[in-house]
C-alpha cells in the first residue's frame, strides 16, 4: 500500500505511521515474524529473481488444464533462464492453486502482490477466475497476464493492468472459423454448447459470424453445466441440419462426445467441434471412432504434422510432448495442447516487455504494461511457436492463426490455417486511455 488515506476511524494515525512506529519499536519481532506476511518486504535487488506469480488451476474444474499449464510454464521459464533470464535476472515461478474459484483467485492475486513480492501475476485460464481476480490486480497495480481465451479482456470489462498477449479470445477464434464451416461443411448449422458464459460467447459470436457469411444457425441447444447425461438433448437437432457445431468443457466432455456418437450411429451430418470438447482426452478412446472424418478447431495442432517447422518441434520437445500430443513420459497423459501454448508465449511477451521497459523493480510495473501495449508484430519462431501474432495494445488482446483439423485414422490432421487478420474485429475498448 503506497498511499496513505485518512479514514473515518483512522483519524490522525495512518496505517503506515502505525506500522513504522511498530517497526521502530521492534514490536514486529519474533511472534509476528513467524508468519509469512509479516516478513518485511524487500525491493527486488538487481540479482534477485523476477518473481512470476502463477495462478494455477491445480484443483477444481480446471485441474486438467492446470496440470499442463504448469508444465508449459516451467518449461518456458527454464528456457528463459538458460537464455540468461530477464535483464540479467533469473525468472522464478511462484505457483499457487486457486481451486478454479473466483474468490480464492482474488486471494491468490493479493498474496502475489502483497505477501510473496511477485513482480507480475500470470497464467489464469477460467474466465470466472479472471473476472474475480482482475479487480484486485488492478487495485494492487499488479500486471496481470491472463491466458484465458475469454473475450473479457478485449470486451473492456477489466482494467489496464490486465492483459492477454499470448492466446486469442473466443470471439476471434469463432470469427475465423465461420467462413470454413459455411463454405465447406454446410450453411445450416445446429450449435450445442454449455449453457453458461463461455458457451454463450460461442453462440452469439458464431451465429453472427455465420450470418455474415450468408449462412445461418437454425438451432441452439444449450446444455446446463450441471448435466451428466447428454442423450436427451440430441433429439432436438433438426433434420435439416447440414453441420453440427459443438463445444463443451468440464469433466463431462468425454461422455458428451461418446453419447453424441451413440445417438447418430454410423450416419451423422458433418460435425465441427472446438477441441475444448476433447482437451486432455485421448482421441482414440473407445466410443470415439465415429469422430473419424469430423473437423475440429485447434488453437495449435495436437498431433505433430508431417511438415511441422522447427520452432514447433522445439516447443514440443521442451514441454515434453510426444508426437500424439501426450506426455513424453506417459502416453496416456494427454495434453491440453490447443491452449497451453498461451503460457509459453505469454512468458516470452513478458520477457520482451520487461526488457523494453528496463524493468528492475516493482516500481517499474507501469512501464511494463506500457511496453507491452506498444507491441504489435510478434513473428513466428521459438518464442511464438503457435504462429505469427498481432497484438492490439488498445484492447490488450493478441490475434493469431487458428487451425482447422480433420480426424483421419485417429489423428488430427490440419486442413486449413487462418491468419491473425482473419480474426480481427472492431475494437471494443481502448485501455490506453484509462489511468493507472
Amino acid at each position: 500500500m503506497t498511499e496513505v488515506k485518512k479514514t473515518a476511524a483512522g483519524g490522525a494515525i495512518s496505517r503506515r505511521t502505525a506500522l513504522k512506529g511498530l517497526a521502530a519499536a521492534g514490536a514486529t519481532g519474533a511472534g509476528l515474524g513467524a508468519m509469512p506476511g509479516f516478513v518485511p518486504y524487500i525491493q527486488a535487488q538487481s540479482s534477485a529473481p523476477i518473481k512470476v506469480g502463477f495462478q494455477v488451476h491445480r484443483t477444481g474444474i480446471g485441474a486438467a488444464y492446470g496440470r499442463w499449464y504448469d508444465r508449459t510454464t516451467l518449461a518456458a521459464a527454464d528456457l528463459i533462464n538458460e537464455m540468461g533470464g530477464i535483464n540479467g535476472r533469473p525468472v522464478e515461478i511462484v505457483a499457487e492453486d486457486d481451486g478454479t474459484d473466483p474468490k480464492r483467485g482474488a486471494e491468490v492475486v493479493e498474496k502475489f502482490a502483497s505477501q510473496l513480492g511477485c513482480d507480475v501475476g500470470f497464467g489464469t485460464l477460467f474466465s470466472h477466475v479472471v473476472m474475480g481476480s482482475a479487480p484486485r490486480a488492478g487495485e494492487l497495480k499488479l500486471p496481470y497476464f491472463v491466458v484465458s481465451e475469454g473475450h473479457h479482456v478485449a470486451s473492456g470489462a477489466l482494467n489496464r493492468w490486465t492483459i492477454q498477449p499470448g492466446i486469442c479470445d473466443v470471439k476471434s477464434q469463432v470469427l475465423a472459423m465461420a467462413p470454413f464451416v459455411s463454405k465447406n461443411l454446410g450453411k445450416k448449422a445446429t450449435m450445442i454448447f454449455p449453457d453458461y458464459a463461455f458457451g454463450h460467447d460461442h453462440r452469439d459470436f458464431f451465429t453472427a459470424a455465420m450470418e455474415a457469411q450468408g449462412a445461418e444457425v437454425i438451432k441452439h441447444i444449450a446444455i446446463p453445466p450441471t448435466e451428466t447425461s447428454y442423450s436427451k438433448y440430441f433429439p432436438q437437432i433438426p433434420r435439416e441440419t447440414e453441420v453440427l457445431y459443438h463445444v463443451m468443457v468440464g469433466p463431462g466432455v468425454l461422455t458428451f462426445v461418446k453419447e453424441l456418437g451413440e445417438f447418430f450411429g454410423p450416419s451423422h451430418p458433418p460435425i465441427f467441434g472446438f477441441l475444448d470438447s476433447l482437451e486432455a482426452v485421448d482421441l482414440n478412446s473407445p466410443g470415439l471412432e465415429f469422430l473419424d472424418g469430423t473437423y475440429f478447431w485447434e488453437g495449435m495442432p495436437r498431433y505433430l504434422q508431417s511438415d511441422a517447422p522447427d520452432p514447433v518441434k522445439f516447443y514440443r520437445d521442451r514441454v515434453g510432448v510426444d508426437d500424439n500430443g501426450a506426455s513424453a513420459s506417459d502416453p496416456k497423459d494427454v495434453s491440453t495442447f490447443a491452449h497451453m501454448f498461451g503460457c509459453w508465449e505469454t512468458l516470452f511477451v513478458m520477457k520482451k516487455g520487461m526488457e523494453a521497459a528496463g524493468y528492475q523493480t516493482t516500481a517499474d510495473r507501469q512501464k511494463l504494461i506500457e511496453a507491452v501495449e506498444a507491441m504489435e508484430e510478434m513473428p513466428f519462431g521459438d518464442e511464438h511457436p503457435q504462429g505469427r501474432k498481432v497484438f492490439n495494445g488498445k484492447t490488450h488482446q493478441v490475434f493469431g492463426p487458428q487451425y482447422i483439423s480433420k480426424v483421419e485414422g485417429g489423428k488430427l490432421v490440419v486442413q486449413a490455417e487462418t491468419t491473425a487478420e482473419d480474426s480481427f474485429y472492431p475494437d471494443e475498448v481502448d485501455y490506453t486511455t484509462q489511468s493507472f
Binding site: K5, T7, H128, G132, T226
Partner: protein
C-alpha cells in the same frame, strides 16, 4: 462484573482489537481480514438461523447471492449508485428470505434442508439461465469508480477494511442484542424444544420466519458488501459450495455463539491459505482439521470454551 457487563465488554474488546489490527497488520493480512470480516457477517447470518434457532439450511448461498446481485445488477444495468444499490440488495435478500421461509417452513428436519437446498439450486440455475443479464458463471466486474459510498472509494484498502469492520460490527451487535432479547430467548427455546415452546404459547412459525428473514437480510448484506468491496459479482457465489461454507465456519467456530462465526471463518481462511503454501493437498489438511475438531471439540472452538470455562458467553 454483572451478567451483562462481561459479554458486552468482551465483544467491545473484540471490536477494539479488530480496529487496532487495522493499524498494525501488514498489507496482505489486512486485506485477508477485510474479506474474513465480510464473510464472517455471512456466517453470523447463518448462525442466527442454525446456531440459535436450530434450523439447518443448506441454501444460504441464495441469500448471499441475492444481496450480491441485488446490488450488482442495478449498478451494472441501471447505473444506480452504491448508496441506493446497497440497501436494495439487502432488502431484496430479506424479501427473498421471506418468500423462501414462508414455503420452506412448512417442512422440518431433513425435508427443510432439502427444500432450502433446492431453492438455492433454483436460484443458481436462474442466474445461469438469464446469462444475458447476469453473465452467469463468468460474472461481471463492478467498475472501480462506481464502488464508492458517500464519496469514499471502497477500492481503497483502508476504506475497505473499515467498511468491512463496520458491517461486521453492526451484524455482531444486532445479533448480540437479538439473542439477549426476549425474542432471541424464544428462538433458543425453539431450538431446544419446539413443542414445549409452542405449548408455552409462542407462535413458533412466526419466530422461525423472523429468524429466516433476519438471517437472510444479514447474509444479503454480506453479499452486497462483497460485491462493493471486492468488485466482482458471479454465480459461483450462488453455488452449493457457498451454502456449505457458512455451515462449516459456524460449526468450526461454535454454533450458537456470537463470536464463533468470526473465529470459524478466520480459522478456515488461514487454514487454507497457509496450507496451500505447504502442499497442493491443502484441502486434505482442511478436511483433517475438520475431522479432528468434530472429534475433540464437537461444539466448535468457542463452543468448547463456553462449555468448559465461560458459560456466560452468548
Amino acid at each position: 462484573m454483572t451478567g451483562a457487563a462481561k459479554p458486552v465488554g468482551l465483544h467491545a474488546l473484540v471490536l477494539a482489537i479488530l480496529l487496532a489490527l487495522h493499524f498494525v497488520l501488514p498489507d496482505y493480512h489486512h486485506g485477508v481480514l477485510a474479506r474474513v470480516l465480510t464473510l464472517a457477517t455471512f456466517a453470523l447470518g447463518y448462525n442466527l438461523m442454525f446456531g440459535y434457532t436450530g434450523l439447518l439450511s443448506l441454501g444460504h448461498a441464495l441469500f448471499f447471492a441475492a444481496g450480491l446481485y441485488g446490488l450488482g445488477m442495478p449498478m451494472q444495468h441501471l447505473g444506480w449508485s452504491a448508496e441506493v444499490a446497497l440497501p436494495f440488495g439487502i432488502a431484496f435478500a430479506a424479501l427473498l428470505a421471506t418468500g423462501v421461509g414462508a414455503l420452506a417452513l412448512r417442512t422440518q428436519g431433513v425435508a427443510f434442508m432439502i427444500v432450502t437446498l433446492m431453492f438455492a439450486q433454483a436460484g443458481f440455475l436462474t442466474l445461469l439461465y438469464f446469462n444475458e443479464f447476469t453473465r452467469g458463471d463468468e460474472g461481471f466486474v463492478i467498475a472501480q469508480e462506481a464502488r464508492s459510498l458517500f464519496g469514499i472509494s471502497l477500492a481503497d484498502a483502508d476504506a475497505r477494511y473499515i467498511a468491512a469492520l463496520i458491517l461486521f460490527a453492526v451484524a455482531m451487535i444486532a445479533t448480540l442484542i437479538l439473542v439477549r432479547s426476549p425474542a432471541g430467548r424464544v428462538l433458543v427455546a425453539i431450538r431446544e424444544n419446539e413443542e414445549r415452546a409452542r405449548m408455552l404459547g409462542y407462535d413458533v412459525a412466526r419466530y422461525k420466519l423472523l429468524a429466516i428473514v433476519a438471517s437472510g437480510a444479514m447474509c444479503g448484506a454480506a453479499g452486497a458488501a462483497y460485491g462493493l468491496l471486492f468488485g466482482y459479482v458471479g454465480a459461483t457465489f450462488a453455488s452449493v459450495q457457498y451454502s456449505i461454507l457458512p455451515l462449516l465456519w459456524v460449526l468450526l467456530g461454535g454454533a450458537g455463539t456470537v463470536l464463533g462465526p468470526l473465529i470459524g471463518t478466520a480459522f478456515m481462511t488461514y487454514l487454507i491459505d497457509l496450507g496451500s503454501g505447504l502442499t497442493d493437498a491443502y484441502m486434505l489438511l482442511a478436511g483433517a482439521a475438520l475431522v479432528l475438531l468434530t472429534l475433540f471439540a464437537p461444539a466448535g472452538l468457542l463452543g468448547e470454551v463456553r462449555k468448559r470455562w465461560a458459560g456466560w458467553l452468548p
